[in-house]
């Protein structure tokens, strides 16, 4: 599908279009955080517990750090964790789903039972356990989330493989003597990727929430600022300096909502029939 047509159809869903712009804003904020932040997010020395005012649009925290700057830097961490963790899941899930769907039989059974097993594990608690044992650190958090969140991708990709491997163009490719790996990579995979991307976009939102949860419980990367950490810091002071919780909370809700609506929008474009019903 041409990109322009895709865009035209995507734009029909107003909510998705607005979400897309929202995500763009968040991405640019994250990229430009060092230049946009009015203060060094780690620098102490302003007056603590300042309510929102000019100069400190989101107020300051207990140590006198500027909340706006901290929220901006937190955007970087959240987006990075979300995207990288979802990408990890996408790679693992696509690999498992492709092999499972294409080979069928015993291999399929085995991989699918494994997938279901991962799917039923309470993800948050396992992530908590692993991070607590292996130590915090952004790379570890990304990998832990990525390795726990691939089953849905695997199932979607497998379903695509099951449909497409019986399609006649795949038979034609086999009749032409193409090897299995050529068929997987050049014939089927390009058809299986779009729905996987849709699921992947939801995983970004989920990974952001999961990371925030870990940080909230103090298991985030201590070197970095994340929204979860900001919320965690804010909870003791929520009654007299509400802004400390409100702004990171708002940012996170808005980003997660945008990503979900954006995913819905892409899904509508890729599966127009579902929407009619």
């Amino acid at each position: 599908m041409r990109f322009y047509q895709f865009w035209l159809r995507f734009r029909k869903n107003r909510a998705a279009e607005i979400s897309f712009y929202c995500i763009l804003v968040f991405v640019s904020l994250a990229l430009l955080a060092p230049w946009l932040s009015p203060y060094d997010p780690f620098a102490l020395g302003q007056r603590p517990f300042l309510p929102p005012q000019s100069g400190h649009l989101m107020g300051t925290d207990d140590l006198g750090r500027d909340t706006l700057s901290r929220v901006l830097y937190g955007t970087r961490v959240s987006l990075m964790v979300g995207v990288l963790a979802a990408a990890t899941s996408l790679i693992i899930g696509t690999a498992v789903g492709s092999v499972s769907g294409y080979s069928g039989g015993f291999v399929d059974e085995l991989l699918m039972r494994a997938t279901e097993y991962v799917l039923v594990i309470p993800r948050f608690f396992l992530a908590l356990l692993i991070v607590a044992m292996m130590g915090t650190g952004i790379t570890k958090i990304v990998l832990v989330i990525g390795f726990l969140d691939w089953p849905e991708i695997a199932r979607v990709v497998r379903a695509q493989f099951l449909t497409f491997k019986e399609r006649e163009f795949v038979l034609a490719a086999r009749a032409m003597g193409l090897k299995n790996w050529e068929i997987i990579f050049t014939e089927i995979l390009p058809n299986a990727i779009p729905p996987a991307i849709v699921v992947g976009s939801f995983l970004v939102a989920r990974a952001i929430l999961l990371e925030a949860g870990l940080s909230f419980l103090g298991l985030g990367d201590p070197e970095l600022i994340s929204w979860g950490m900001l919320l965690s810091d804010a909870q003791e002071r929520i009654w007299f300096s509400m802004w400390l919780a409100i702004f990171p909370g708002l940012a996170m809700s808005l980003l997660v909502l945008s990503i979900n609506l954006f995913g819905d929008g892409i899904n509508d474009v890729l599966n127009p029939r579902l929407k009619e019903k």
């Binding site: 399609r167 006649e168 163009f169 038979l171 034609a172 490719a173 086999r174 009749a175 032409m176 003597g177 193409l178 050529e182 014939e187 390009p190 058809n191």
Partner: protein
């Protein structure tokens, strides 16, 4: 089958069977089978067209896939160009595959929706590492050959940007690219509109003459058989019940099932249609899991005899290359 010496047999199939196990439950070892193809034999000469006809579930499409070795048979042999297809592997199989190609019914499903015509048609050349220097030219040449001209306007289109007839032409071009000996056409014109169907059949006939092709034509449409095929084999529940030259079979069908098929096919001629006597069959085709004992057609046959319920008739030679499996003609 008797043939003059100058015709060379390219495909010879004997005792071909394909049973699909029925999946009855999780982890269960199935003992029941769908007997899709249950022991069929025929042969095909160079430049000749053989039509396999029958209704859905008769095993004709399975036969097509078996011939191309897209699925492995349960029993039987397939000899193609003098070699046993089932014994080949690796390079030899690849070399033989170049000689046999397939065209499908569903023109949408048979082309990868994410590829452009250019990519679809250069695939065969790439795969056989043919001199890729003038690949573009070659692709344009085959497009021209199948009547998609000027090629430039079709090269960069995706399948969904083509009409059904044009997509089928691309499918034919892909099959033709490597100059095969045999093309298996699985209901290749069934989904097309009347006027487009005639165009595609016309194209296939022309290409057959031009490249000395043999066709194995799988179809349910007897009118297509009449206008295209030299030989016809009528299949019912996994077996061939009658086989012979098209003219002979159509003018004087011997098997009651062939008679029923011919009488059921509507004729686009109101006077003929009103004179025609209908031979209506009772009921549906029985399940290929438990085909009827004796002659498989006996449950629907208007001429059924007690013998038909117990013994299975064998194909008997009736002269002029015609064979039929029916006790009425013993």
């Amino acid at each position: 089958m008797k043939r003059t010496d100058e015709t060379e047999t390219i495909l010879e199939i004997s005792g071909l069977k394909k049973y699909f196990p029925l999946r009855e439950g999780f982890f269960s070892r199935s003992s029941r089978f769908v007997r899709a193809v249950d022991g069929i034999s025929f042969s095909l000469a160079r430049k000749e067209t053989m039509a396999l006809v029958g209704e859905s579930g008769c095993g004709k499409s399975t036969t097509a896939k078996l011939v191309l070795r897209l699925i492995e048979p349960t029993a039987g042999t397939i000899r193609f160009l003098g070699r046993n297809v089932l014994e080949l592997g690796g390079k030899e199989l690849l070399a033989l595959r170049r000689e046999m190609q397939i065209i499908f019914q569903d023109t949408f499903a048979s082309l990868n929706p994410r590829k452009r015509v250019r990519e679809i048609l250069s695939q065969p050349f790439r795969n056989y590492r043919m001199d890729t220097g003038n690949l573009e030219e070659k692709v344009a040449e085959i497009l021209e050959l199948v009547g998609l001209s000027p090629p430039a306007i079709f090269l960069d289109r995706h399948p969904h940007e083509l009409s059904g007839g044009q997509r089928q032409r691309v499918g034919i071009a892909r099959a033709l690219a490597l100059h095969p000996t045999l093309i298996v056409a699985d209901e290749a014109v069934s989904a097309l509109d009347v006027s487009v169907k005639a165009q595609i059949l016309d194209l296939m006939k022309r290409l057959q003459r031009q490249f000395d092709l043999s066709f194995l034509f799988i179809t349910h449409d007897l009118a297509v058989v009449r206008s295209l095929a030299d030989q016809v084999a009528v299949m019912y529940l996994g077996l061939i019940v009658e086989r012979g030259p098209v003219r002979r079979v159509f003018s004087n069908p011997l098997h009651p099932y062939t008679q029923a098929l011919l009488s059921a096919t509507p004729v686009p001629n109101p006077r003929l249609a009103r004179q025609k006597k209908r031979m209506l069959l009772k009921g549906d085709v029985p399940s290929p899991v438990d085909p009827p004992k004796g002659c498989r057609f006996h449950t629907r046959c208007p001429f059924v005899m007690s013998r038909c319920r117990e013994e299975e008739p064998e194909l008997k030679e009736k002269g002029d290359g015609l064979v039929v499996a029916c006790f009425l003609h013993e």
